[in-house]
Symmetry: C2
Subunit: 161 residues, 2 copies
């Protein structure tokens, strides 16, 4: 046994950033533990961490890490990789994690639009309510269409530089 029993010997400022960013990310809608795990990996120099390292650095159980990374992988923010003949998984943030997570919001707006459309039928398309819904519907579709284009434009601009 030569590992440190301390919470972690390394950089205190980094740990504060991890919690700070996780908090903001939580406000943005992510659950707490996935936000912390993501944040912990984000703040590493090498860009990846093993489950044990995550657990140690956040002071949580391996079970919590397991649940969080499963979720993060599911929503396409992280990937798990194991080198051939290795025993540990390395978790890293996908290169286009952010683009995806913003761009994927178009699905939400599309769902809203679909629900509104059903509502128009239910309430009568020619009634005042129906007409009000029509505009909302169009707006949601507009956003759903434009969001991915926005990301694309960013990508294109980025390639030039």
């Amino acid at each position: 046994m030569t590992t440190t029993p301390e919470p972690q010997p390394s950089d205190e400022a980094a740990r504060r950033f991890v919690e700070d960013f996780a908090l903001v990310f939580t406000n943005a809608g992510l659950q707490r533990m996935p936000a912390r795990v993501f944040s912990a990996v984000l703040a590493t120099q090498k860009g990846s961490l093993t489950a044990a390292e995550i657990a140690e650095s956040l002071q949580v159980s391996p079970a919590a890490v397991s649940g969080a990374v499963r979720y993060l992988i599911h929503v396409g923010l992280m990937s798990k990789a194991r080198e051939p003949g290795e025993r540990v998984d390395h978790y890293r943030i996908l290169d286009d994690a952010w683009y995806e997570s913003v761009g994927r919001k178009d699905a939400i707006y599309r769902q809203l639009a679909e629900s509104i459309e059903r509502g128009m039928t239910a309430l009568g398309p020619e009634t005042p309510a129906g007409k009000r819904l029509q505009e909302t519907h169009d707006f949601f579709l507009y956003i759903a269409k434009e969001l991915p284009l926005l990301i694309e434009r960013w990508r294109a601009d980025r390639l030039e530089a």
Copy 2:
């Protein structure tokens, strides 16, 4: 006493829409009760409802309605109005509720960018981690800037038609 004791005599399809839309809206991030209240008002022909009507139509307590509308007003999705010499409040959805609620998301991205910026300082701007954060930071600021422009473009297009 001449009011109906039934859950509500009126349109069944409308009630289904209310719950359907509330659900989608909840998936999009709103709490359940505010989503239901909003949805109930959205589905009315006259475009407004009193607290009592909301409570009746959703089969919830006045307290729940009170809490929900307070929240909805706070986040700028609803307004409360009382006619001079009236005893009841009428709740209605703000005309630009949706524009606001989408456009206001730029604040979230701005906060993310700010947190990332603090992280860059903490991790060292010239380190691998610092450089990775830089790009994320720029991306968030880009989104924060473009979202309101997107809404504006919609508004402009709409005025023409």
